[in-house]
């Protein structure tokens, strides 16, 4: 599986896959904080099975967009449709229960817990035993724990973090923390995975590992991915389609090739005033 991913001409096969139905669509979403208009009339869609990159200069509103999608921020205007249903009053735990998972720009792990426990929290929504069964533990609750432990061990194997299974995550180096965070999000078996700068602060080798994981997740778990990333090489390689934001506005939307040639994008990245 691993070799398969590495030897294949990645972007070609990825593009071929990006022909699913629309999973999430964002229509004319606006968000402001006091005077700061973080998002202005942004519209785009994410199709099933694609890797959709969101790029833009610092402060463009990328993180805010993800926060709107998973219900941290409530946009003042616009419509969000997920799996064909228009969404109202979103809360993060509701978004989670509908199949949206997320990693953060600044790692947001549970620092006092081990790698294993961090990833196990991703299974919360799938665990059904009541408080009494958990208090007794033996029997139903233990069987449930073991079942989910197996699923989590699968993810730990996949992300190659077996050796740090029992380590408190606060003690891990940054690159591994990012990996554990990805594992925690994967444990929820999301339909839509939002990754906010998963490779920030990583060296080349770590970036390659992470890219490989992201592609494998899409290909084998059938997960749709929205990815914010500043490393253009990575973005062009991984993504099927790219949205470009600048000052809260969408300035371009298309395949990596189209976006690269777009004059507005070039200007925004070169800092040409408008």
């Amino acid at each position: 599986m691993k070799a398969d991913v590495e030897t294949r001409p990645v972007s070609a096969s990825a593009a071929a896959k990006a022909r699913g139905d629309v999973l999430l669509s964002v229509d004319n979403v606006s968000l402001s904080f006091g005077g700061v208009r973080a998002l202005r009339d942004v519209s785009f869609d994410i199709r099933k099975g694609e890797i959709r990159a969101i790029i833009g200069p610092n402060g463009a509103g990328k993180t805010s967009m993800l926060n709107v999608i998973n219900g941290f921020y409530h946009p003042q205007g616009g419509i969000i449709t997920f799996k064909g249903k228009r969404r109202h009053d979103m809360r993060p735990y509701l978004a989670a229960s509908q199949g949206i998972a997320r990693t953060f720009q600044n790692v947001a792990l549970f620092r006092g817990m081990s790698t294993l426990d961090n990833i196990m929290t991703g299974r919360t929504l799938k665990m059904r035993r009541g408080i009494l069964a958990q208090a007794i533990y033996w029997g139903a609750s233990q069987r449930e724990e073991i079942r989910h432990r197996k699923a989590v061990e699968h993810i730990i194997d996949f992300l190659e973090i077996k050796h740090i299974r029992k380590t408190p995550v606060g003690k891990l180096p940054y690159g591994l923390q990012k990996r554990v965070e990805l594992g925690r999000a994967l444990a929820t078996e999301p339909e839509l995975l939002l990754l906010d700068e998963p490779m920030a602060g990583m060296n080349l080798e770590e970036k390659q590992d992470m890219s490989r994981f992201i592609l494998t997740v899409r290909d084998t778990f059938d997960t749709t991915i929205a990815l914010i990333e500043h490393d253009m090489g990575v973005v062009m390689d991984l993504s099927d389609r790219i949205v470009v934001l600048d000052y809260g506005r969408k300035i371009a939307d298309g395949t990596p090739g189209e976006v690269q040639r777009n004059q507005a994008v070039i200007d925004a990245y070169l800092g040409i005033p408008h």
Partner: protein, 375 residues
Amino acid sequence: MLYREAGQFKSTYAADMAIFPIRQDRMALWLLLAVAFLGVPLLAHFRIWPLGSDYFLRAILIPFLILSLATVGLNILMGYCGQISLGSGAFMAIGAYSTYKFATGVHLPLAWFGTAISIDPLPVLPSILLGGVMSAVVGILFGIPSLRIKGLYLAVATLAAQFFFDWVFIRVKWFTNYTPSGSVAAPEITIFGYVFHTPIERYLLCLAFVAVFAVISKNLVRGNLGRQWMAIRDMDIAAELMGIRPLYAKLTAFAISSFIVGIAGALFAFVYLGAWEPLAFNIDRSFQLLFMVIIGGLGSILGSFLGAAFILILPILLDQGPHALGIPVTVETVSLMVLVVTGALICYLLVVEPLGFARLWSVAKEKLRLWPYPY
């Protein structure tokens, strides 16, 4: 025998997820249980040192067990769920007075409705459990603000609970069955027809409660609910994103914590004190439990026992130690020394090792596990 996990390969997840995955730990635990359930009663029965007189059982072991239980309860809320509470004394009081009311019969005239709620006196065991339930209900009510306020502000809210219930149990005579002095005496402890009278019997009763609730607590904190609590403690925003509902996680922590603290309160009143005044559960008690949690280790069941032992034994050591060495000390000096040592230790632990004695213990074990090879 060496303390090692080498050679103890765990072939199943069940074995890896056991309460004590390492064999030596399990053996130590069985030994401890044997001493607690058999050794202590036997020594006490045959009046062998240090259990030659009732003093050790009555004044040290029984309060140690009960306060350990209360500390476990508080630790679930503070150590695992990260919600600070300065009102645990009040929850002990709610457990104690509710148990008292259930055990002596409840009569609540509701003049406005022209009726009255009357419950005949219940046996002691259900009364204690219902006392825990009452404490849990109040815990949930006082936990609701935690959804909005955090840290210091929550601490102040729980402090308000403490003062409110201090006042209630002094002023509302109904709770004390209108005794003129305001102090109440617990009825005889009879469970399934067996009267718990001697210190040994009372000790065993407490031990049974503590053992059961320690296992329950350990099971909860290592399972799904415990992970939800810790997730809320460490990073509530990310926890919500995993599908954890803050409302559910926090209120279950408040409920279970107050339930256990309430039961400890009932045992403290019925088994240890026998007769008590509202003062027994005032703010000092809350601070005592708080210190036990911090010194023992936030987020550790074992630590709760270590912390309780330390806080209870410290004054005895500081009193007996100088005497044994022939240094005369006054009672005031001793109580001052207790404050100084406790305070200094808490400052040290909060700055250097917030996970308390339990953490020092596991570091020592970690070293021992690798000894004599440092790597």
